[in-house]
């Protein structure tokens, strides 16, 4: 098995699907000659040509609306939002229109489209190149929201997303693009949208996370194992629909749960998980449902000291776990 980065996994998933199905095409800012600002479509223009690799004007609402219109006619567009921070101009088309299309037409319209969004921080991106946008999409019926943490998951989930007949918001943590590397098989595989993945088995505490934070959780779990605390790490992979069953089963086993995300605390994915655990595993709990999340300020600031203060990291996860272990 080859070891590749997340961005290489994303690229090869799209490339394989575009070779397999001529209705798949990419559009977005700088996706053509430049190959995308993160190089996710590097080489695509040469291989697939201008008609399937479309450099759009700098106008997100139209990128999304045009992708949606093409999806209505049976194409499988993959619009790229250059940075999550610039998805807002397209929210009308994404949330107002695309997410409601099937429901609002009583099942007549289908939206086989994958919206790829590099998101998240820790790259000195400041308020407009670091945003965590997942909780906004997590709230919306009619969307499926995916956020892989490893190259293996990124490739398998993206291939499934492209083949899915429904609208999928595919969130790629941009810091993981080159930082996170992992084994990916040469042969064809897909990973179903929906199920989470227990990345580490444990019996004392459950920690639930996704995206880049998954890796801090795994490192912290390793530290805690040296202190005789056995941590189970659940990687959500898909945020919506949420794999409630795996979370609940894990909590029933461990009796304690810590939810970790980079996104703001209030109204985040963790808040929903906390409510579900309180509802469905109340009698099994041995400690408070705990969250370690980004604080409630508008994204991590630019200065290194402030960015570090904002972000959860391995040490912060480890101390939250220690505290919970002692409860």
């Amino acid at each position: 098995m080859a070891v590749i980065s997340v961005i290489e996994a994303v690229r090869s998933a799209m490339q394989e699907e575009m070779r397999r199905d001529s209705s798949v095409f990419v559009l977005g800012e700088d996706v053509g000659k430049r190959g995308g600002v993160f190089l996710s479509t590097q080489g695509f223009l040469d291989e697939f040509g201008e008609s399937r690799v479309i450099d759009t004007p700098l106008a997100e609402a139209s990128i999304m609306g045009i992708a949606l219109g093409a999806a209505f006619k049976g194409m499988r567009p993959i619009p790229e939002v250059q940075f999550s921070d610039f998805v807002w101009p397209s929210i009308n088309q994404l949330v107002g229109e695309a997410a409601r299309a099937r429901y609002g037409s009583n099942g007549q319209l289908t939206v086989p489209m994958v919206v790829r969004i590099p998101y998240g921080g820790g790259i000195r991106g400041g308020l407009y190149h670091s945003q965590n946008v997942e909780s906004f999409f997590f709230h919306v019926p009619g969307l499926k929201v995916v956020s892989p943490g490893t190259p293996y998951d990124a490739k398998g989930l993206l291939k499934s997303a492209i083949r899915d007949d429904n609208l999928i918001i595919f969130l790629e943590h941009k810091k993981s693009y080159r930082l996170v590397r992992g084994e990916v098989p040469e042969e064809e595989y897909t990973i179903p949208i929906g199920p989470s993945d227990v990345k580490r088995q444990g019996s004392n505490i459950t920690v639930v996370s996704y995206g880049l934070m998954l890796h801090h959780c795994l490192e912290a779990a390793e530290l805690l194992s040296q202190e005789d605390v056995d941590v189970e790490v659940v990687d959500l992979r898909t945020l919506r629909p949420l794999d409630t069953e795996t979370i609940i089963n894990s909590v029933k086993k461990t009796g304690k749960i810590l939810i970790v995300h980079e996104d703001n605390l209030t109204g985040g994915v963790g808040a929903e998980i906390a409510a579900i655990v309180a509802d469905q595993a109340f009698e099994y709990l041995d400690g408070p449902i705990s969250r370690l999340c980004g604080p409630d300020i508008p994204t991590m600031p630019f200065a290194q000291s402030l960015e570090e203060a904002y972000l959860p990291n391995t040490d912060k996860v480890a101390s939250a776990l220690r505290e919970l272990a002692q409860y």
Binding site: S51, S62, G65, A101, S105, P141
Partner: protein
Amino acid sequence: MTQPRSGPKNRSARSSRSSKTSDTGLPRGITADDLIDYYKRMVLVRTIDERIWMMNRQGKVPIAASSQGHEATQLGSLLAAEKDGDCFLFTYYRDLAVKMAAGLTPSQVMKSFMGKEGDPYSNGRQFPLQGADLDHKIIQLSNVVAAGLTQAVGYALASRMQGDDTVSIVYFGDGASSQGETHEAMNFAGVHKLPVIFLCENNHYAISVPQKSQMAITDIANRAEGYGLAGVVVDGMDIIQVYEATREAISHARSQGPVLLEMKLERFMPHTTDDDDKRYRPAEEVDNIRQRDPVITMGQYMTEQGFLNQEQIDEISKEATAAINQATDEGEEAPLPDPSTMFDHLFKD
């Protein structure tokens, strides 16, 4: 009718009734029977539109936007699309005549306005006639004005990619022309020379806001040049001119690229059944614009041309009333959607 013909060009032009007519005196591609057929459709739409308004006052229809005054544009453009055979439409909430002429039955219209089972657009999930009617090649997803424009452009992009002849026609108001998405849609369509027609139904009002407070220009079609589109101003109260301009726009869209058709027309009724237009426009203005009622002018044209006589005109009106009476009964009798269907069709399996 004295101006020379001027079709789509790369600058704004004014369209007028063609001098190039066939032996029958009719424009290319249509017969007297087509016009008789469309006159009947116009009378039918007017009759049901008035009935719906009345039923709102009776508490049976929660909300309606009237197409009265817009019929010549909606029907003339649909006649062109129908004759062409390869058009796909993105409509907006005022386009009752487009939808009916495209094949929606009066009974379906009534069920939709009453939120009953059997509404083909959304089966009672959305405002009347909103969602999609794919059998008749229409999508109208939402109430958000101008949201259909980029979608129509994307549909046209897909036509190009799939190598078929479909032309997208997207209908919108003068109010919608101010939206940022309108700019983005026209810009992209211009860059890629896509087969799409932007058909603006300019009734000079966005609810209560008059055109002069919406924009600094008189002709929205003038904007076409800024996007590299053809722009044409059309008398949207004249079904023949609308037919001709749309027919030409379709072939232009297919061979050369997008067209912005600005139909100048009038809104006879308040914005919707919830609006009171006396708050913002004098009654004389409404009396004035009603002088050019497309139902009356088309009726006169039909008798002048000898396509129909007065007796036939009266008969058409009677038939329309009978058809709408029956449709009203069917609407009233139809069941409400079953609450168990509420969760259906969120995703495709």
